[in-house]
């Protein structure tokens, strides 16, 4: 099948004549305004310095590439001698390479390289002089902590690579960089610890990435479905992180990390259900407090998913399960509300999702107003008007607040919470129990790269429970050499 016109240049070789090469380049790239072609003469040989405006550092191009070349003085220089001299006797950049095909040359140019073409030589020399605008290293927006590092990944994949390398100064830390996708040719880096992860797992991940048939990759969400397990599951077998320290901890446990150019969210795989309840602060606090917080998160998950549904089920189907005084108060409060409890809950949660979406999409300067409006509308006016009851509002608020404790499970908690309300409202405790069994089965069925998602709870791994049921002190935790390959029932790799 003939390749589309946009991709026919990839295997096109460079010619020897400079003028023809420049014509070819203009034909491939069209009349794009950001292409800069500067003809220069070096030791009497015609050359051209090519780069994209805004992608390179003008200062670096001038001082470290152009000036040394212009000041070059070689006796009886011809094209070949000039090429040899530049390649062997000059260091114009730390990252230098030769390319002979237009596909690679253009990819280099679009990655912030400056390229020199020499008349009579069918090989281009590329110098890494990146100077495009990048965001500085900031605290991650989604993974806050108190006592840990405040550095987060940025959109530049090579900067992210250095953030990991700076923390893990071991030769066993490996990076594998390659471009993927047809149009965007996005750089991705697969990182792993060579002594902790089976080679076949790394190869599997690289194979999947290189086999992607996407046209463009603009975020980790584009790649995630292809790296996730095959079985349909509500829970994802891969996780994302903005934190280099979290990434390092995961790599030490024998996982594989994927850094993607253009997004600060790195992918870690495979991941376990229990990890959603772990935070970096757990390892900075004293063990007793860390354990306390962890169980708070377990309770928060239960409250976030089941509390509204259980309340609706108990109030509608099993009032005898609630104590008499409380039941009287609830009945009094519900008298004013015209709607069925189940529909009250559904309306509250739908309104909450609308306000939450609005708060995210609006500019930060206006976002605060959404909270006030939302709080007034739902919190005060709706209750005063008798549309919804105070107990239902209280239950919903507790459930929503509990879900904030687990941002990585927010999607699942939101959907299951609504399902629990509908199940409880339609079938009472029987419906809630069936839904609970479905959720449990969904979690237990999930598996990624040979690792059951419910590990180390099921199959039970006593050694790994030291960081799930409790948080052992570092005297034990830091020396046990745990990797996911050691989990009971894990069938990873070779």
């Amino acid at each position: 099948m003939e390749k589309p016109a946009a991709f026919r240049h990839e295997e096109l070789p460079l010619k020897a004549a400079l003028k023809e090469n420049i014509e070819d380049l203009k034909t491939i790239l069209g009349e794009t305004s950001d292409l800069l072609i500067d003809p220069i003469t070096v030791c009497g040989v015609s050359c051209a310095l090519i780069c994209f405006e805004g992608m390179t550092s003008g200062f670096d191009v001038f001082r470290t590439v152009a000036v040394p070349l212009m000041e070059l003085d070689i006796e009886n220089a011809d094209s070949a001698a000039l090429f040899r001299h530049i390649r062997s006797s000059m260091i114009l950049s730390v990252d230098t390479g030769e390319e002979q095909r237009w596909g690679n040359i253009i990819r280099r140019l679009m990655s912030g390289f400056a390229v020199i073409l020499i008349d009579g030589i069918s090989t281009a020399i590329a110098f890494g002089v990146q100077g495009y605008a990048v965001r500085g290293i900031e605290e991650p927006s989604s993974e806050g902590n108190i006592m840990g590092s405040h550095e987060g990944f940025v959109e530049t994949v090579r900067t992210n690579m250095s953030l990991i390398r700076r923390r893990m100064k071991t030769p066993l830390l490996r990076f594998s960089l390659f471009p993927i996708s047809k149009r965007s040719r996005t750089d991705v880096i697969v990182c792993y610890m060579a002594d902790r992860v089976p080679r076949s797992l790394v190869d599997d991940v690289i194979k999947r990435l290189k086999g992607l048939k996407l046209e463009t990759i603009l975020g980790s969400g584009y790649i995630a479905p292809f790296l996730d397990g095959g079985r349909a599951s509500v829970f994802s077998g891969i996780s994302t992180t903005e934190r280099p320290d979290v990434m390092c901890a995961k790599l030490l446990e024998g996982r594989v990390g994927v850094l993607i150019d253009g997004t600060p969210f790195a992918i870690v795989l495979p991941c376990l259900f229990a990890e959603n309840f772990q935070t970096l602060d757990d390892y900075n606090f004293r063990p007793f407090y860390a354990v306390f917080l962890r169980y708070i998160r377990y309770i928060a998950f239960f409250l976030g998913v089941f509390f509204p549904g259980i309340y609706v089920a108990a109030a509608l189907f099993h009032p005898g399960m609630i104590s008499a005084p409380l039941m009287m108060n609830l009945a009094r409060a519900e008298e004013k509300a015209p709607l069925n409890l189940m529909w009250e809950a559904v309306i509250i949660f739908i309104f909450y999702e609308i306000i939450r979406e609005a708060g995210i999409r609006l500019p930060k300067s206006v976002g605060g107003a959404v909270s006030i409006v939302g709080g007034l509308i739902i919190g005060d006016a709706a209750v005063s008007a008798g549309v919804i009851s105070e107990p239902m509002l209280l239950v919903s608020a507790i459930s929503v607040t509990a879900s904030f404790v687990l941002p990585s499970l927010n999607q699942q908690i939101t959907v299951f919470r609504l399902a629990a309300v509908l199940a409880g409202g339609a079938c009472g405790l029987f419906g809630i129990s069936l839904l609970g069994a479905f959720i449990l089965a969904n979690i237990c069925a999930a598996e990624n790269y040979g690792l059951p998602y419910m590990s180390p709870l099921s199959p039970f791994s006593p050694n790994a429970m030291g960081d799930v049921a409790v948080r052992l002190g570092f005297k034990k935790l830091g020396t046990r050499g745990f990797t996911i390959e050691k989990l009971t029932g894990a069938d990873i790799g070779d």
Partner: protein, 355 residues
């Protein structure tokens, strides 16, 4: 990517066997404490005896009973064995779904006919069975956790209501001639028979879970029966679901009635038990049709339909197959012995050829 992990641990098998006993306890009625204890003891002893060939075969050879038969006696023999297991597992699952749905409809879903509960339970059972035997076994950890939580809640808040003098030794009654018609034996037999197929994902230690589970069942069932009669006393024989009533009565002074926890536990245990049987039937169906995907879905759908039909038409086909002693004797005794015989014969044939 297809699921690779096929590991099933000893603890998981023990808990899954216990799930069948829990289903029995939540749905059974007891006429007399002594008779109930006798029934439990005799059921455990008989099942332990019937489980010996299974444990012996699976400790010597890797794989399920049908795999072993297929390896040594040929595919046609494996197909026959698989058909026998399917014809037992599906009615058993149908009966389990039915008895639990009757309990749920009567106590926790007022105004609804049991066949509605059968359909709702069946939908979840179809999903769980479709995920495979390993998934059902992995649910055992949560089942164990919920059991511990429930027991803890009751022990914490209901202990005052059970005064020690009420728990007196009950004289055991003579073992009835036909223990298979009701009681614990059919549940335990179904549980252990499923191990013939579950052993396909098991390691050597897993086979020990069979007897661990049987021992746990004996201890647990006897303890619960004693507690029921300690709490309800002479009212126990009058109750259709004495365990549920005992829990409600024991917690009558609590601000919140915790029997909802017990009900959730009963739903989960009955779903696990029924789904395990359907998943095992599905695995056996896979022996007959190797290219068939999602066999557990078909077998569980058949069980649900069978259960609903039995409930609506009031026929007792599923109950009769479930309660019969013949099927467990054949499937637990004769079929594994046939597997051993086939293996021994194949071994001798190989030795003769070598000579």
């Amino acid at each position: 990517m297809k699921n690779k992990s096929r590991y099933i641990s000893a603890g998981q098998t023990a808990v899954m066997i216990s799930a069948f006993a829990l289903t029995f306890l939540t749905t059974a009625a007891f006429d007399d404490c002594g008779a109930a204890l006798s029934d439990a003891l005799s059921a455990v002893l008989l099942t332990a005896l019937l489980a010996v060939p299974v444990a012996a075969v699976t400790s010597r050879y890797k794989g399920s009973i049908t795999d072993i038969i297929g390896k040594f006696a040929g595919r046609s023999s494996a197909v026959i064995a698989a058909v026998l297991y399917i014809l037992y597992f599906i009615p058993c699952a149908a009966h389990l779904i039915r008895v639990h749905s009757i309990f749920a409809a009567e106590r926790y879903f007022d105004g609804v006919r049991p066949y509605v509960c059968i359909i709702l339970t069946g939908l979840v059972c179809i999903y769980i069975s479709g995920t495979g035997v390993e998934t059902v076994c992995r649910m055992s950890t949560m089942l164990l956790g919920l059991t511990v939580l429930t027991l803890g809640a009751f022990a914490l808040f209901s202990a005052d209501d059970i005064s020690m003098p009420q728990i007196t030794p009950y004289p055991l009654k003579p073992i009835p001639a036909d223990i298979s018609s009701a009681g614990l034996f059919p549940f335990l037999a179904a549980a252990v028979t499923s191990m013939c197929i579950v052993s396909g994902g098991a390691e050597e230690r897993t086979r020990k879970g069979i007897y661990t589970g049987i021992a746990a069942v004996l201890a647990g069932v006897c303890a619960v029966i004693l507690l029921i009669f300690a709490v309800l006393g002479d009212f126990a024989p009058l109750s259709s679901f004495p365990l549920s009533d005992a829990v409600i009565y024991a917690s009558r002074d609590m601000p919140f009635r915790p029997d909802g926890l017990l009900f959730t536990l009963s739903v989960l245990s009955s779903l696990c038990a029924a789904s395990l049987l359907c998943a095992c039937a599905g695995k056996a169906l896979g022996t007959i049709f190797p290219r068939l995907k999602g066999a557990g879905v078909y077998t569980s759908a058949a069980a649900v339909i069978f259960s609903a039909v039995c409930e609506v038409t009031h026929i007792s086909a599923a109950e009769e197959i479930f309660s019969s002693i013949i099927y467990p004797v054949v499937l637990l005794g004769l079929v594994p012995l046939a597997a051993v015989g086939a293996a021994a014969f194949a071994g001798r044939k190989k030795a003769v050829k070598v000579q």
